[in-house]
């Protein structure tokens, strides 16, 4: 049976689209047939992150209107033929589709794909409802910030109420040095509140931004050996059911001095 996973967060800008693009690509690299759906109608950018913007002809809206077939709207990735994108319309609002229509679209996709990843818009309004209704599992993305965690918590409650009971947590943009200085929530702090299984921790990394701008997911490009790319790769293996130990992000390898400092702090207490 295909797996239908929504990538959601509540708060905007925490890395849903980045996560969708990288997980989609990494799953495809490991031989799964993957469809990623941009459910952010009106503010789409999954196509940008995947570098597929210029190949979009039709979108989900035209499929629903019966103006084209589903396979005509799907954009196949030339670099990775296992991956396909179902784009959202840029010029329509979030009310352009209904939860039932999304369910139908996703249902059709499951016939040809092992994984369907849905990139959810920020917020908890109609667009959110559209994105979560077809899903059977959810990846809740948050950054280690109070406001983001608060919104993620809200989303977890709504997912529970909507019977999406299999949820996993991805903590994005962790800065180990800040956690160490008690200036940022730790992985444990976030877990204490959200209390859902941890799927992965992705460090804050400039190369993520570079890859975003280049339209080339991190796991694909020259930076595929970076810590962030490895973190995404590990998430995919955990999704497959493998037990993968969590990366040691703490302390970052280049930061020799903070290690020394920690050593002395440790001695004091």
């Amino acid at each position: 049976m295909s797996r239908i996973i929504v990538v959601t967060s509540g708060k905007g800008g925490v890395g849903k689209t980045t996560t969708t693009a990288n997980l989609g690509m990494a799953l495809a690299q490991r031989g799964h047939k993957v469809a990623v759906i941009d459910a952010d109608f009106g503010l789409r950018n999954l196509d940008l992150l995947l570098g597929l913007e210029n190949r979009i002809v039709y979108t989900a809206v035209e499929v629903l209107a019966g103006e084209c077939r589903l396979d005509q709207a799907l954009v196949r990735d030339k670099r990775q033929p296992n991956l396909a994108l179902l784009p959202a319309a840029q010029n329509r609002t979030k009310d352009a589709v209904t939860p039932d229509q999304m369910k139908k679209l996703v249902g059709a996709l499951t016939k040809a794909f092992h994984f369907v990843l849905i990139d959810c818009p920020a917020g908890i309004e109609m667009g959110f409802q559209n994105a979560i209704t077809p899903a059977r599992e959810a990846i809740v993305v948050t950054t280690p910030e109070v406001a983001a965690v608060r919104d993620a918590d809200r989303v977890v409650g709504l997912l529970e109420a909507n019977d999406v009971k299999r949820m996993y947590l991805v903590i994005n943009r962790l800065k180990p040095a800040m956690v160490e200085q008690d200036m940022m929530m730790s992985v444990k702090d976030v877990q204490d509140i959200l209390a859902i299984p941890l799927l992965g921790v992705v460090p804050d990394d400039e190369r993520v931004v570079v890859s975003t701008n280049r339209g080339e997911p991190l796991v694909l490009g020259a930076d595929s050996t970076s810590l962030a790319a490895t973190a995404f790769g590990n998430i995919v293996r955990r999704l497959e059911g493998e037990k993968v130990p969590f990366l040691d992000l703490n302390p970052p390898p280049e930061d020799f001095f903070s290690r020394i400092r920690r050593f002395f702090q440790g001695r004091k207490s």
Binding site: D151, D153, V156, G157, A161, D163, I193
Partner: protein
């Protein structure tokens, strides 16, 4: 909890097969003589109509998840919809959620014609009641409702209101709130807002295994969390003293209670 015996003239209510509780701020189950009543808040107790159904749905799911250990399978449920406007699809959803929890929707009671029609259309057995029953003025010496027991994490954005004591088996997260006319007991971490004795009873208490709230209120008294959180947490109780809200460990509280010449 009101022991006042001088209740003024009791309200003249219409005799009914199903008694109507006067205050139902939220979705609530109530056991009664082997059957289970599912009480819906009336239309005017809803604050934001836009999210009314979404809220109602979330509350229902939460109550179902929280209480399922206590119900016998196949218990009959009587839906007391009062003046709530429900369409066939929504009634269907409620019925399915009940079925999933191994409960049986037996009958729908409503005072709205549209809801009655929707229920009949959906194939439910329905009884339309006179709306007069809801217009009863608040009874003065009304007994407090039985405790609401929920077994779940109360998450951000959720508000639980209950005209009695609230017991949570789980954490109460930041951004959520519990408003109880009775006590608030949290078998977990209380990090959100908790209000006990919400209708004015300052003898109500709040207790939690880990009392780390955003704010607590008892009757008209308010207390905030300290600026610097303690190094270690242990079960604590908050209660009202002549100097305001006081927080002590549960162990000390029981001693205090016994010693205090409280009325």
């Amino acid at each position: 909890m009101n022991s006042d015996s001088s209740v003024p003239n009791p309200p003249s209510s219409v005799a009914q097969t199903i008694p109507e509780p006067t205050s139902v701020p939220q979705v609530r189950f109530k056991g009664e003589g082997g059957r289970l009543l599912l009480l819906l808040p009336s239309e005017n107790e809803i604050t934001t109509p836009a999210t009314a159904w979404a809220d109602l749905w979330q509350q229902l799911k939460q109550r179902l998840n929280g209480g399922d250990r206590f119900w016998q399978p196949n218990t009959a449920v009587y839906l007391i919809a009062r003046d709530r406007l429900l369409d066939t699809r929504q009634l269907q959803a409620i019925s399915e959620a009940l079925t999933e929890a191994k409960l049986n929707l037996k009958r729908v009671y409503t005072s709205r014609r549209q809801t009655a029609v929707a229920a009949a259309t959906g194939g439910f057995s329905v009884e339309q009641q006179s709306p007069i029953a809801h217009l009863n003025p608040e009874t003065v010496g009304q007994a407090i409702a039985e405790p609401l027991y929920i077994e779940t994490t109360v998450r951000s954005g959720v508000e639980i209101r209950h005209p009695g004591t609230v017991i949570v088996l789980g954490d109460v997260n930041p951004g959520s709130s519990i408003v109880a006319d009775g006590d608030v007991l949290v078998w977990g971490a209380l990090r959100g807002v908790a209000q006990a004795g919400a209708s004015g009873n300052s003898r109500c208490i709040i207790m939690a295994l880990r009392l780390d709230p955003t704010q607590i209120r008892i009757a008209d008294f308010v207390a905030r969390a300290p600026e610097t959180p303690p190094q270690q947490y242990y079960p604590e109780v908050a209660y009202v003293t002549p100097d305001g809200i006081r927080i002590i460990s549960t162990a000390d509280f029981s001693k205090d209670r016994l010693e205090l010449p409280e009325s």
